[in-house]
């Protein structure tokens, strides 16, 4: 992934779909490097930063959020058309986010339960990643994304090189920082072996199992891990819930969650 032609001070746009804004705020969170980034790009559209917005086309678009309405589909197509590079950021944009819990249920029932006037709600049956609707040049995972990884993607775009964003397991980061494995040494359920690295193995370092925020790793043998979680005493319901959080919509996690959501069947 790189800019087709090397552009000096390329234009950067940041877009939001169904999301919490946490990922785009990671850009503002790059306090030490923010000025250098702002010096290297022209921020053309970033409404969390400024009301002043420019028209496209844009050299790089960062897209946060999932597609949940018919209007979203139209908007993402227009953004794709106006962008040389389109990078999706965060679990919502790359797998549908926590709101993909609706994909396991009847969204009509949800709206009827939550809203006094569900007839005013116009929404799609499923929450889907951006890549289901338009071609995506690079997906940056995480709930939220890691700001160092975001900087790496931006600097890679600027230099015209591939971003160094590994697809391996959280375990590699965990062992690299010298954390004692919470699954082996404490029997704590941990999704690290099937989850993509990027957070720096934050949760095991504070004695928690990995929650799978970065979605499935390149090779995610979820069925073997799920069997082991049962072996260490995790209930079927908890195994199902573990795979059904921020990346509930990613196929590997979804399949495992469904396998364990009924009592005593499967695997």
């Amino acid at each position: 992934m790189s800019l087709p032609t090397v552009v000096s001070r390329p234009t950067l746009a940041v877009w939001k779909f169904a999301s919490c804004d946490g990922c785009q705020l990671s850009l503002l969170d790059c306090e030490d490097e923010l000025l250098a980034v702002v010096g290297a790009v022209q921020i053309a559209h970033f409404t969390e930063l400024s009301r002043a917005v420019q028209e496209g086309p844009f050299d790089v678009s960062l897209v946060e959020g999932s597609i949940t309405t018919a209007d979203d589909i139209e908007r993402i197509r227009a953004i794709r058309q106006a962008s040389s590079l389109l990078v999706t950021i965060g679990a919502c944009a790359t797998s549908g986010g926590i709101q993909a819990l609706r994909n396991y249920a009847d969204v009509g029932e949800y709206t009827a339960t939550v809203y006094a006037h569900p007839e005013y709600i116009s929404t799609l049956a499923k929450s889907t990643p951006i890549s289901e609707h338009v071609p995506v040049d690079f997906e940056l995972r995480g709930c939220p994304i890691d700001r160092h990884q975001l900087l790496e993607v931006i600097t890679a775009c600027l230099t015209g090189r591939r971003p160094v964003i590994p697809g391996h397991s959280v375990c590699q980061e965990c062992k690299g920082r010298g954390t004692v494995c919470v699954l082996v040494a404490h029997g704590t359920p941990c999704l690290g072996p099937v989850t993509r690295a990027g957070c720096g193995a934050l949760c095991p370092a504070v004695d928690r199992g990995c929650y799978g925020c970065f979605g499935p790793a390149d090779t995610a043998n979820t069925s073997s891990l799920a069997r082991q979680l049962i072996t260490v005493g995790t209930s079927r319901a908890d195994v199902s819930r573990l795979f059904r959080t921020f990346n509930a919509g990613s196929p590997a996690f979804r399949e495992e969650s469904l396998t364990y959501d009924s009592p005593e069947t499967g695997r």
Binding site: H168, V180, P193, N221, S224
Partner: protein
């Protein structure tokens, strides 16, 4: 060279003698790195006195399982290896190889120097000493030594602690690497029990060791102390039940590259890489170049694993796309082609890959399963499926 049987050079010390040793090493400018209990495991950290060591801590290990428990005994070394090994001291998990900076048209390349003081490893186990020898061959045995490894390893001091309490995952007796050790250390300790608490037989393995032992106090070791050591080691060896047929395994794996057991293990393996990361001899690294927003370029090296899809990535895709091929790569390299490449086995029988595999895959069981139906399997015919 001093003989390990040089009785006059060997001492019996109590715990105060070990504190004297730590003090003498610190006074010589070493960082003293030893075993401590953190987060439910014995790991390696800087230690300043025997009060930091795992007194009364004991481990229970099994495939995919590790637990510590505490007794009120005053042993300091009655545990078997934990997840860390000397590898992380000499080959850091992540290191900067070089960085550039530029002023105007001039680009300068800077290589970081080894800044921290040399390490004195306290309580390394005989299998870990064997692993250091393997890594020495890999990193420093060729024509172009690895500077990062060499700089850290060269000045180091090693105090080995022989094993009295191996874990159920240990199989050093199969690999000829423990539970005792005769050379390759500066000083060797054997923890001996006595009514007044543990005493330590200290043997000298180098001139530097001889200098330091002079500051430990204690009294000359007697033949009875050596007999106690023999008893400790014999007892330890008897307790080790796990076996690997080291004489046969090289050929066994080489002639069973299409054995169905590889499919079986691939269904269980998570390709998480924990086995290779805890292995004291696995040395693979990934090197990557990155740029910073202000235009500098950095080259980093980090631990890599053959279980990572990207490890075998070439321009058309990964060479080993399946877990089947990656597990086979790990086991065949470790136990078979390592001999071709480095003249030894890559395995020292420490059992870490067994205990710290989240799903408890056990290399001794996998090898035995292949041996049980050795050659009974016809050569696999490519069927169009991904067997890469």
């Amino acid at each position: 060279m001093l003989s390990h049987m040089d009785l006059s050079a060997s001492l019996i010390v109590d715990r105060a003698g070990l504190d004297g040793l730590l003090g003498a090493l610190a006074a010589r400018g070493y960082r003293t790195i030893g075993p401590v209990v953190r987060d439910g495991a014995v790991v390696q950290r800087q230690v300043s006195s025997t009060g930091d060591l795992p007194q009364g801590w004991h481990d229970e290990q099994a495939p995919g399982h590790y637990r510590l428990h505490h007794d009120d005994d005053s042993s300091l070394f009655a545990w078997a290896v934990g997840p860390e090994s000397p590898k992380s001291e000499f080959y850091p998990a992540r290191s900067l190889v070089w960085r550039t900076s530029s002023t105007g048209d001039v680009v300068t390349l800077e290589q970081p120097q080894q800044e921290s003081a040399p390490a004195a490893l306290i309580g390394s186990r005989p299998c870990e000493l064997a692993a250091m020898r393997v890594l020495d061959r890999v990193f420093a045995g060729g024509e172009i030594p690895d500077p990062c490894y060499r700089d850290r390893r060269e000045g180091s001091f090693v105090v080995v602690a022989e094993c009295g309490t191996p874990a159920a995952t240990c199989f050093c007796t199969s690999m000829g690497t423990g539970p005792g050790v005769e050379d390759g250390y500066d000083l060797a300790l054997t923890e001996l029990t006595s009514p007044d608490g543990p005493r330590y037989l200290v043997r000298v393995g180098s001139a530097r060791g001889a200098e330091v032992i002079a500051e430990m106090g204690g009294s000359p070791a007697q033949p009875a102390d050596f007999a106690s050591r023999d008893a400790v080691l014999e007892n330890a060896a008897r307790r080790i039940e796990r076996k690997l047929d080291a004489g046969n395994v090289r050929q066994l794996l080489a002639s069973n590259l299409e054995h169905p057991r590889w499919d079986d293990v691939a269904s269980r393996c998570l390709a998480c890489g924990n086995c290779t990361l805890v292995c004291p001899t696995c040395f693979c690294g990934a090197v990557s170049d990155t740029t910073t927003v202000d235009g500098a370029v950095e080259r980093h090296r980090r631990w890599d694993t053959c279980f990572d899809l990207a490890h075998s990535l070439v321009h058309t895709g990964p060479v080993r796309a399946t877990t089947w091929s990656r597990y086979r790569q790990w086991l065949t390299h470790k136990l078979s082609t390592w001999h071709d490449q480095f003249g030894t086995s890559g395995c020292v029988g420490c059992g870490r890959c067994i205990a710290w595999c989240p799903v408890g895959i056990d290399i001794t069981v996998e090898v035995a399963a292949i041996a049980a139906s050795d050659g009974a399997v016809p050569v696999h015919i490519e069927s169009g499926g991904d067997r890469s």
